[in-house]
């Protein structure tokens, strides 16, 4: 299995390298982000260098999360929709190995990109002679974990749906939507008092609660970690939450991997 995994990862990386859509999308996103970051480099004063570093980091991090999700979506969709999986599954290469290789190769690219922006930020610390803040490593790790959560969710959607539907689905079915709905329904239940509408609202909230639990949280423990994001300073408590985020990511990726695998095995690869 190990050698097949490595073989598949190598081929997947070639797909990323040679896919024109992915290349154009990357250039487009880089240009958009560049337009928002570059002016900051010229107009902010020296005292705000730390702010520039965090701005660059957060913008590039958004780009990497998008790219990581796109890698997963495009790879899975391309192979399933073009029936290429037929050539893989008629060899002694199991769907488990193939799906894992797809996830690992996108994760590897994501990891390399995060390592890249961490290096850029570290160099800026040196160039601008600012004391290095370990918080930048902390948020790099946390953002990488968040990218993995997005990747595992989109992998399942890519197995189930057409890529366009998968993207639309993720826009609607994400934790933010259901968190907002929860707040709305809680408020609604309070306002409605004891009227007949209350039981309906309670039932709706129950449904929303279940969906909210099932949909992965894209930014777990974000409130608890916000201090690190703003100050780049790490405390023992914040490290604890990073560990929790790691455990949550592990759980979500394994859960969605198994769901994707089940869906993949149910498909007719013809």
């Amino acid at each position: 299995m190990y050698s097949q995994l490595v073989t598949n990862i190598k081929v997947n990386l070639k797909f990323y390298k040679r896919d024109r859509l992915l290349f154009i999308a990357s250039i487009f996103i880089i240009c958009i982000l560049g337009l928002s970051v570059i002016p900051a480099l010229f107009f902010l004063t020296k005292t705000k260098h730390l702010q520039i570093i965090t701005t660059i980091f957060s913008q590039l991090s958004k780009f990497i999360t998008l790219i990581t999700a796109a890698l997963g979506l495009l790879f899975i969709s391309h192979h399933i929709r073009n029936r290429i999986t037929k050539m893989v599954f008629t060899k002694p290469c199991s769907p488990e190995t193939w799906l894992l290789s797809s996830f690992l190769s996108a994760s590897l690219v994501s990891l390399a990109l995060y390592a890249g922006i961490f290096s850029i930020c570290s160099i800026l610390f040196l160039v601008w002679k600012i004391p290095f803040q370990w918080g930048i490593l902390y948020i790099t790790v946390n953002d990488f974990l968040q990218a993995l959560i997005a990747l595992s969710y989109i992998t399942l959607l890519a197995v189930l749906f057409h890529p366009v539907i998968a993207v639309l689905f993720i826009f609607i079915f994400h934790d933010g939507t259901f968190y907002y709905l929860k707040l709305l329904l809680t408020g609604g239940i309070k306002v409605s008092g004891e009227s007949s509408l209350t039981s309906m609202l309670k039932f709706a909230k129950w449904i929303v609660d279940i969906i909210y639990m099932l949909i992965p949280n894209g930014e777990p423990f974000s409130e608890k970690m916000s201090v690190v994001y703003s100050s780049l300073r790490i405390s023992t408590e914040s490290l604890q939450y990073l560990f929790f985020a790691f455990a949550y990511t592990l759980f979500v990726t394994v859960f969605f991997y198994l769901l994707s695998l089940y869906a993949l095995k149910k498909k007719r690869h013809i």
Binding site: K14, F89, T90, R268, I270
Partner: protein, 310 residues
């Protein structure tokens, strides 16, 4: 297991009462692709599956490859239920009908990749030899999305050669190939069969089946309607003679002219009229060039069986 002339025959591929249906359209109407489909392919056979479009040939092959799980009935290959990506594929090669390959890879990368999926047993040299065998050596660095249809088909053939398979599944194998490559491909198949491989192929090209298969099954509407040795299907028609003789102005009415040129006539006649025709030719002072029992071709058998089915 069966015995033919005292020789032990092992069933390599077996389908028993298999039914497969697809849901089609907005209303998810069920469409039966295989209906009580049963088939046995013995070890060492070169087995041809024939049938009109939509008969279910490809669906049957997908079942044997584990790509479709039947709604009912049993499928076994090497006495095992085929499952996607399982270990049993170590001894199987498959050439798909449509070139569903990794188009972003080059010819060499693709064959190397497919070979690597078989595990560590396939060397780079073997891959190189396979590419050379199908005549793609000079295109080894060309991406598959830039290759012609025939070249893609050759890549498919090359990847079938890398693992010394015990069973080869071929879905319309000569589609898009030039006559020279078809001949080479046929030779490759015969060689693989001599080395012990069982070959199972779907094809519309009856002449191709006729040239390499020893057993044939004919399918229609998801069912096997005939399954036999090719020689049994393609026997002689004892009721009819084919005769070719010098052209004459008037002919007896029992002569069914098939081809008429300025010098010769090729015709079919009932066996009981043969002596009469020979006398007529002698009396008319004509020359006879050919006189033989009519051979039933696979095409004749195919159409007769389908006609009988209707």
């Amino acid at each position: 297991m069966s015995f033919v002339c005292g020789v032990k025959r092992i069933a390599m591929i077996k389908a028993e009462n298999v039914s497969v249906s697809f849901k089609r359209g907005f209303l998810k109407k069920r469409l039966k692709a295989l209906d009580d489909f049963s088939l046995t392919v013995q070890k060492g056979d070169v087995f041809g599956l024939l049938g009109p479009n939509g008969a279910g040939k490809s669906t049957a092959m997908y079942c044997f490859l584990g790509l479709i799980q039947p709604d009912s009935g049993n499928i076994s290959v090497f006495d095992k239920k085929p499952l996607p990506g399982s270990e049993f594929f170590k001894n199987v090669a498959y050439l798909p009908e449509e070139p569903h390959y990794h188009m972003y890879l080059t010819v060499e990368e693709a064959v190397n990749y497919y070979a690597a999926l078989y595990g560590n047993g396939v060397s780079r040299q073997k891959v190189s030899e396979a590419i050379e065998r199908v005549g793609l050596s000079e295109f080894r660095d060309l991406r598959l999305n830039k290759c012609s249809k025939g070249m893609k088909q050759k890549v498919g053939i090359a990847q079938c050669l890398v693992n010394n398979p015990k069973i080869v599944f071929l879905d319309e194998p000569t589609r898009g190939l030039d006559p020279i490559t078809v001949k080479e491909f046929r030779d490759i198949l015969i060689e693989m069969n001599k080395n012990g491989a069982t070959i199972f192929l779907n094809s519309h090209v009856l002449s191709e089946i006729e040239m390499i298969c020893n057993r044939v099954a004919i399918m229609n509407r998801g069912k096997v309607i005939a399954q036999d040795e090719l020689n049994h299907l393609r026997s002689f028609d004892l009721e009819t003679y084919i005769v070719e003789f010098g052209a004459a102005e008037s002919l007896p009415e029992y002569v069914n002219v098939k081809i008429k040129t300025a010098d010769t006539i090729k015709a079919e006649i009932p066996t009981e009229k043969l002596a009469e025709l020979i006398r007529f030719i002698e009396v008319s002072g004509l020359k006879m060039y050919e006189c033989s029992l009519k051979k039933v071709t696979l095409e004749d058998a195919f159409f007769n069986i389908l006609k009988g089915e209707k």
